[in-house]
Symmetry: C2
Subunit: 142 residues, 2 copies
Amino acid sequence: MFKDNEQQPEGFSVPLSEALDNLAFNDAGLVPVIAQQHDTGEVLMFAWMNRAAIEETLATGQVCYYSRSRKTLWRKGESSGQTQTLKALRVDCDGDVLLASVEQTGAACHTGRRDCFFWKLDNDTARIDKSPLVDPKDLYDH
Amino acid sequence: MFKDNEQQPEGFSVPLSEALDNLAFNDAGLVPVIAQQHDTGEVLMFAWMNRAAIEETLATGQVCYYSRSRKTLWRKGESSGQTQTLKALRVDCDGDVLLASVEQTGAACHTGRRDCFFWKLDNDTARIDKSPLVDPKDLYDH
């Protein structure tokens, strides 16, 4: 469906159910999701959704992922308080990646940093160049 | 390595080779890569790199992916002319995703659109809301 319609003009649409039926879920029923802060453009984190998580996210406007470690829906911020309010949810040309534009409360990363991409590579080293906004102990020890 | 050092302060570094040894390559030897335009913050595309692609990208400053369909290194823009010059390459907290900050020439998407995320979802529909910058025929038919 996505490939067949990639040359359609702006404004072309299909029913949501048809789009979701045609997403390229992997063998575990998941698609990768990039979360981006809607106004600053910061790429915050990378996670996964199953179909139920996508549907819940669209219905509630609060971002819900699927936790591969806990094997359950993961309502972002439910334990840490660092929620993500949905601004837009997009699919790529191949129908195999989602981009969630969000309003991130506080720190997206479990380390307490604003985003997860705090290791910068160069030709010789990998170096941490971001500091936590909050102590991760304060996010989860309650 | 990444998990063990996630609480280290800004400025902490390890040798590049140690970081690459500890990246969570999948069974096919690949890690996902998010490409972002360095100045506007646009998320352009999502692709994959193997270790050789990462090393080439860092060494040359021109982004090189691994093509899963062609099963070979894919020097972005080598056939389309739509190259990506590297500004920064980052790894996430878990060492399983890369974020490439790039200067994108023209269109990142094979459809001729600036980026690949041109399907917007809402509760009822998936709708195309971006138009091509260039005709894809002009990118590849030469």
